[in-house]
């Protein structure tokens, strides 16, 4: 059995990130969009932690704390906006949010 090297973690984080990107770009449901964003952020977290372990210092851990806090705040704000839009349009389809289009 091959040992688990940091490379595995990196690849895992990259795959997760790409899944998140594809989700953000193609999905129409606003909630799914937010979930994809969270996926991307967590992929970044994983990457930071991996490299923190590799270099042996805790700077990566500190960064992850920041990211978790920011992700939480951003999710809260995002959900608040989606709630507002839903109250107006009774739908969470991002394709329908075109009020500012010329």
């Amino acid at each position: 059995m091959t040992p688990i090297t940091p490379d595995h973690y990196i690849i895992l984080a990259a795959v997760l990130f790409m899944i998140g990107v594809v989700g953000v770009l193609t999905r129409r449901n606003a909630l799914v969009l937010l979930m994809s964003v969270e996926l991307m952020l967590n992929a970044a977290n994983l990457t930071f932690l991996t490299f923190s372990r590799v270099h042996g210092d805790n700077q990566g851990h500190v960064m992850v704390f920041f990211i978790i806090a920011v992700a939480a705040a951003e999710a809260a704000v995002g959900l608040a906006i989606i709630l507002s839009v839903f109250r107006h349009k009774r739908s969470v389809n991002v394709d329908e949010v075109t009020a500012m289009k010329r």
């Binding site: 770009l25 193609t26 991002v94 394709d95 075109t98 009020a99 500012m100 289009k101």
Partner: protein, 969 residues
């Protein structure tokens, strides 16, 4: 206790403060407050001006050479060598101007209180008037040309504001525009002239510094006479604009659209004199260039006559006075043009008095006549306006030149100076050619750069130049004026000149032509001596043994002997000619060939003299040789008082006295001397340490020596006489055209007397031609208007006594003789050094009598034509000479001419520029075009804004990927 120099700043500032107060806050002030500020500031300024004047006088008592008060306030700009300081300067010239401006200005401010009492823009009027005083004071007190120009522009502006004071009337507003624009043309030329001076005077236009640049003579700060002339003319054009000379006078008659006190102040007493003041200030520059002064005087004389002619047929009281002002300014310009600076300023002063009086009097008349200005609708006013009438009459007599009034003295002085003044031309450097055209007292001298000076009588010289010739300079040929080295004259009066470049010129003393230049460059050896055997037989010798012989058949150029340089030549007959040169060599010509004789010493033989007693020769080692019956004997030159005679350059024998021009050592110094030996005794006369005598000749009763100063930059002429050797560095030159100017000025004087008395008679005398309603309103003016009239009348009578030379032997008044001249002397010292005048009191009285007769003629004619027996003559003359009459009445159609030539053309150009450039290109293409362009770009880019967040994110990711790829690889 205010220090004297601070006074100047206060004098300038007080009117400005008055202008600011009345200008910004005056709309709220009562009449009383306005004129307390307006008139009070000028009254204070006048008091300070008096104080400054007396301060200057006490300085002058101790330092009579160049008294002045300077006040450098601050440096406005400095960059490299360019230096512009705000500085004020009070010297005798500006002190006279100061008193005139503030004094007459004060009187006019007082007059305005009464005249403008009913005007609704009282405060604005006084604000402008004070602003004008400020600008004028900056102009006259400025220490450099740039400060003068600041004031110059300021008075131009105020003139515009005041002429167009009643701007609601279109015509009056346009008159203001015309004044400003015509003035501007002059200003343009002026500023270019200032820039030229700035450049050549190392970045400064300070009057004292520029004077220093011009003190040494030559061309002042310039390299050649043409730049100098150009600069002087540029400055003159500026003065023509400001002082209303031909061709830029057209604004002054139109300027009468402004209130009458304005006409009195600006267009009679002060602003228009700025041009004259400037030229007088720059006298040290103008006197360097006699042609420029001729131009100035021509313009002055022309204007004086031209305007006087136009004034003959003007019917508006103010227009007559306007043209009269232009004419009198022409007199002042004529005065400064012939170099009579004091006379010009004197006339400026007296003119300020009587012209201001005339204008204020006319203001009084117009006020009384409810605005009527046509003199043919007036008449008989003397009965109802006695004070105005009397003062007006006094001023009219003054301007006409009635004796013992101010105008007579100043005008007469200008006429006298025009007739007698002349220039003093500097002798050219390296003066070494001297000859005579044969006439008694005639002399022709030649020096460096081909300059020749000649005279027929000794008191009037002409300067001319040989034509430029193609000469060898190194490897190339250039056109140059060569230095002239020797001259000789043939019996028929032709003068031959030799030059340091080997070319020969021939002429009559004033006009020269190239006679001979060698064919091959190698033969262009300098010629050093010449001798004429007859009309068609002239010999020339020069360096490297060159001998040229001119005969009826032409020029023969040969080389004699062993190419030793020849420097002396004399012939006793056509077949006995001697030439001498370097190393004591002597050649003798016997009619066919040149044979070498035994040498005389080892120095260079520099000159020969032929006498009945034999031949004399001098050498450059101080030897004198005498040939008697074929043998040469040396005569030692041992002179008491000289340590040694170093070298001799020329010799002439007069009677039984030998005169030698030489260089000797005296007291350890090298001195140029003129030695003379009579009865075996040698004497010497010193011609100055460091100088050099190049030639001596007998001239009339005395002996003349010419030479150069030690620095080689100036020529000198020495003449023996009682009291030793007289040295001259300049010679007098009286231009012939001064007589023409005199005649023109005299003619203008007749006309002046005539039209001024015509004005007086038609306005005040005789029966009235006004209608009943106007006539009943006619009344004498209030004291605020009549008191200035009386004061000015006083000045018009007595103001002239301080400047006349005529009272030298009159008991009481001789203390005042020439007081003005003595006071102004320091200001014109440099300029006067290059001029000369005649001081002949008897002749002066004679010419004074002539001008009185001429004035009297004008007055008598005016009386007869308009009051006396010949009343129908004006009508008959206009019929007989209808065309002439029409031309004069229409002011020679000058305004129409300018309209056709300049105004229409410029208007058309302006219209085209506006329609094409302004409207189409700048407005259309530029302004609207750029707006449309931006809008278009916006429209194009807006398409990408579709509100689809996911599409935006696609763009973001794509950008990130590209960035990562770029950074990675």
């Amino acid at each position: 206790m205010v220090h004297a120099s601070q006074l100047l700043s206060w004098i300038v500032l007080l009117p400005l403060i008055g202008a600011a107060l009345n200008g910004f806050l005056g709309w709220n002030f009562s009449r009383r407050r306005v004129h307390i500020i307006g008139v009070g500031s000028i009254a204070l300024t006048f008091a300070l001006a008096l104080r400054a004047f007396f301060a200057l006088r006490s300085i002058a008592a101790q330092n009579a050479y160049d008294p002045s008060i300077s006040d450098a306030v601050y440096t406005w700009a400095a960059s490299g060598i360019f230096h512009f300081e705000v500085a004020f300067y009070l010297d005798p010239l500006s002190s006279v101007m100061l008193l005139v401006v503030t004094g007459v200005g004060l009187l006019i401010h007082i007059f305005s209180m009464g005249y403008m009492a009913d005007d609704k823009s009282y405060a604005r009027y006084f604000a402008y008037l004070n602003l004008f005083m400020f600008s004028m004071l900056v102009l006259i007190l400025g220490k450099n040309l740039l400060m003068l120009f600041v004031g110059w522009e300021g008075v131009g502006l105020c003139s515009y504001l005041l002429i167009g004071f009643w701007f609601s009337d279109d015509q009056k507003a346009q008159a203001g525009q015309k004044a400003f624009i015509v003035n501007r043309i002059g200003d343009f030329a002026f500023i270019i002239g200032i820039m030229l001076l700035l450049y050549h005077c190392s970045g400064t236009t300070d009057f004292e510094v520029m004077q220093w640049h011009c003190a040494s003579g030559g061309y002042g700060p310039f390299q050649d006479p043409y730049t100098l002339l150009f600069c002087c003319i540029l400055l003159l054009v500026g003065a023509c604009g400001k002082s209303a000379q031909v061709p830029l006078y057209v604004w002054l008659p139109d300027a009468m659209a402004g209130p009458t006190p304005v006409s009195a102040l600006i267009h009679a007493a002060t602003m228009v004199t700025a041009g004259i003041y400037m030229i007088a200030r720059m006298g040290f520059l103008y006197t360097l260039s006699p042609p420029s002064m001729a131009v100035v005087a021509t313009i002055g004389a022309t204007t004086a006559l031209f305007a006087a002619i136009i004034a003959l047929r003007q019917n508006d009281i103010k227009k007559v006075l306007a043209y009269s002002t232009v004419s009198q300014l022409g007199y002042m310009m004529l005065a400064v043009g012939v170099g009579a600076y004091v006379a010009g300023i004197f006339h400026l002063m007296t003119h300020a008095f009587f012209k201001a009086l005339l204008f204020l009097g006319s203001g009084s008349v117009i006020h009384a006549m409810s605005g009527e200005q046509n003199i043919f609708k007036m008449g008989g006013l003397k009965r109802k306006m006695p004070i105005t009438r009397n003062t007006f009459l006094i001023a009219t007599m003054a301007i006409a030149g009635v004796p013992l009034l101010a105008g007579f003295f100043s005008k007469d002085e200008i006429l006298w100076e025009t007739l007698t003044r002349g220039h003093m031309l500097p002798l050219p450097a390296q003066l070494s050619a001297a000859g005579t055209t044969g006439g008694e007292g005639s002399l022709v001298l030649g020096g460096e750069h081909g300059i020749t000076m000649s005279t027929d009588t000794g008191d009037n010289w002409t300067q001319s130049r040989v034509p430029m010739t193609a000469l060898q300079a190194g490897n190339s040929t250039v056109m140059r004026w060569p230095n002239l080295t020797a001259a000789t004259a043939t019996p028929d009066g032709t003068v031959w000149l030799t030059s340091g470049h080997g070319v020969i010129y021939r002429g009559d003393g004033e006009n020269w032509e190239l006679a001979h230049s060698p064919d091959k460059a190698s033969e262009a050896k300098a010629l050093t001596a010449a001798w004429a055997a007859g009309d068609s037989d002239v010999w020339f010798v020069g360096r490297l043994g060159r001998v040229v012989h001119y005969t009826a058949g032409g020029f023969t150029d040969t080389t004699v002997g062993t190419q030793v340089g020849l420097h002396a030549l004399i012939g006793r007959s056509t077949s006995e000619i001697y030439a001498g040169g370097d190393r004591g060599i002597i050649y003798r010509y016997d009619g066919k060939t040149w044979t070498q004789q035994p040498s005389l010493g080892s120095g260079r033989i520099t000159a020969f003299a032929d006498t009945d007693d034999g031949l004399y020769a001098v050498s450059s080692q101080g030897g004198l040789y005498h040939q008697v019956t074929g043998e040469w004997l040396e005569i030692p030159m041992k002179v008491d008082g000289l340590q040694a005679v170093l070298s001799a350059t020329s010799i002439v024998v007069k009677g039984n006295t030998i005169h030698v021009g030489a260089s000797a050592r005296k007291g350890g110094q090298q001195v140029a001397v003129l030695l003379s030996r009579e009865d075996g005794v040698w004497r010497y006369e010193s011609a100055g340490a460091g100088n050099a005598i190049t030639r001596v000749m007998a001239h009339g009763e005395s002996v003349l020596a010419i030479g150069t100063t030690g620095n080689g930059r100036n020529g000198r002429l020495w003449r023996t006489g009682d009291g030793g050797l007289q040295e001259e560095s300049r010679v007098p030159y009286k231009p012939w055209y001064h007589l023409v100017f005199y005649v023109v000025a005299l003619g203008a004087a007749v006309l002046t007397a005539f039209y001024m008395f015509r004005l007086y008679f038609l306005t005040f005398e005789g029966e009235t031609r006004a209608d009943a309603a106007t006539w009943s309103h006619v009344h004498e003016s209030p004291p605020s208007m009549t008191i200035p009239l009386i004061v000015l009348a006083f000045l018009s009578i007595f103001g002239g006594y301080i400047g006349t030379p005529l009272f030298e032997h009159v008991p009481v008044l001789d203390g005042l003789t020439n007081k003005l001249h003595h006071w102004l002397e320091p200001s014109f010292r440099v300029a006067d050094g290059r001029l000369h005048g005649v001081h002949d009191l008897g002749a002066a009285w004679g010419y004074a009598g002539l001008s009185v007769a001429v004035a009297g003629l004008g007055i008598v004619l005016a009386y007869l034509f308009y009051l006396g027996g010949l009343k129908d003559m004006p009508g008959k003359l206009s019929e007989r000479f209808a065309v002439v009459d029409r031309v004069i009445s229409n002011k020679f159609y000058v305004d129409e001419l300018y309209d056709v030539v300049f105004v229409r053309g410029f208007r058309a150009i302006a219209r085209v520029l506006h329609q094409v450039f302004d409207v189409l290109i700048i407005d259309g293409l530029g302004v609207r075009g750029s707006a449309l362009l931006l809008a278009g770009i916006g429209k194009a880019v807006r398409v990408a804004q579709n509100g689809n967040v996911q599409q935006y994110l696609v763009a973001v990711i794509a950008g990130l990927a590209a960035l990562a790829w770029y950074l990675g690889g």
